[in-house]
Amino acid sequence: MTFLFDLFAQGAQMALVLALSPLLIGFTRKVKARLLRRRGPPLLQPWYDLLRLLKKEVVLAEDASWLYRAAPYVIFATTWVAAALVPTFATGLMFSWTADLIALAALLGAGRFFLALAGMDVGTSFGGIGSSRETMFGSLAEPATIMIAFIVSLIAGSTQLSEVAAYMASDFELRVSVLFALIGLIIVAIAENGRIPVDNPATHLELTMVHEAMILEYSGRHLAVIELAAAMKLLLYVSLIACVFFPFGLARHDASLEAMGYGVVFYVVKLFVAGFLLALFETSTAKMRVFRVPDFLGAALMLGLLGTLLVFVTRSL
């Protein structure tokens, strides 16, 4: 019976990230529109868009290979697995032993690799530009992610997210290195999701576009799946920040249904706060030049390195 319950909880988490990620995008767009004194699309608009895309016919370029058709599903699968492994409302779920920070970085890296390949597959110049930029940013963002993972795992003594969250919740200390890790992770999250200072998610018309350039040739269900994967990537980073740095209200895996329900409520509140802050940040900054992005991500890498250094320093005190 407990086995069934565990399976149910894990499945609920997988369904939850799938259902909530377009809502997070919708909420962020809504807040942005409100801040710009527009009314904005309804909250469920990303879901409507996805369903509309699913109904439409797929238009393929003549020289698209099998890779081009397979890549969306690979990207979707890797992102969904990664997003479903991060503890959202409860720690220590059934598959949480695989929810390792390094494994998450690898899953996301695999998704990025296939997206870059798909961008170059058809041979339009836009796709090539997007892929080369994506790999340039990725080569800086991934080391920063790994450094931040080092900080967190050095402090918590484990790379498993469930244990990290449990440690952070039980043993609350203010540490300089944790502060650095948080800021670095926020920078990485903004860059990885192509939010405003790095890339504009709302337009196809910019010379500096990255993510949109790679998926310019996609249509129909392929595009729907990729968009859903992008939404889940944003949700993944939000839940990662929430579970490592703000582990309030996370239920234990053997908790009652009621506690799990509270966990879900807490999680949704965290998502709302994160979406609001993201919208606020996006409306208050301007997009930076593409060649400034390495500096921006370099700052995250630097914070990771400094934080790791400080972990050892504070140990020796």
């Binding site: 200390e173 203010l174 300089v176 502060l179 500096d295 370099g298 630097m302 250094l309 005190l317």
Partner: protein, 220 residues
Amino acid sequence: MQHLSLDIAQVLAGGLVLVSFMLLYQDRLSGLINTFALHAVVLTLSVAWQAYVQNAPHLYLTAAIALIFKAAIIPFSLHAIVKRLRIHRTVEVVGGIGLTMFVGMFLMGLSLVVMLPATAAADPLAREDLAFALAIVLLGLLMMVTRRNAVSQIIGFMSLENGLILAAAGANGMPLVVEISVALSVLVAFIVIGIFLFRIRERFDTVDLFELDRVRGERQ
């Protein structure tokens, strides 16, 4: 409580180092001045926390001076001067931001390596603060070296001085901190105004927008 107070002091001092790095990262003058104001605010918080922990009322005065002078008056007047003199908005950086940040990281590591063994006898609160303070001083020096613009050099100098105040506040039994910080603030204000007017006059003559108008032939 002892542990938490140490944590808060560390986070504030570390935050000050972080803002020093933000100063190195900024390449626009208005952003630079705003970041400097933030630097002063974090310094104020840090010094005030030290005053609370050590029960040293005179440090509150130091914090107040930092807040009034460095977080309000100096940034405000710098903004006004930049606006009035129509200085070119970007800062030239020697060697690029990435390299500067890298050197800054090296300096941070250096100050930790030097300070922690040297102050092994002191209490942990002062040790950590001294290491961070040295890092801030070195980062301020780095900023003065890598920037060609007078405004950013002055900001680098003042952030250096913030590091000195942090070091003084972290060390116990320094009743002269207040006087010294007052004197330094006045001195800095003089240096700011002095260097500014002279350097600006000789360097930014040609960055005047009216000059550009004249070249385009819109005015005689």
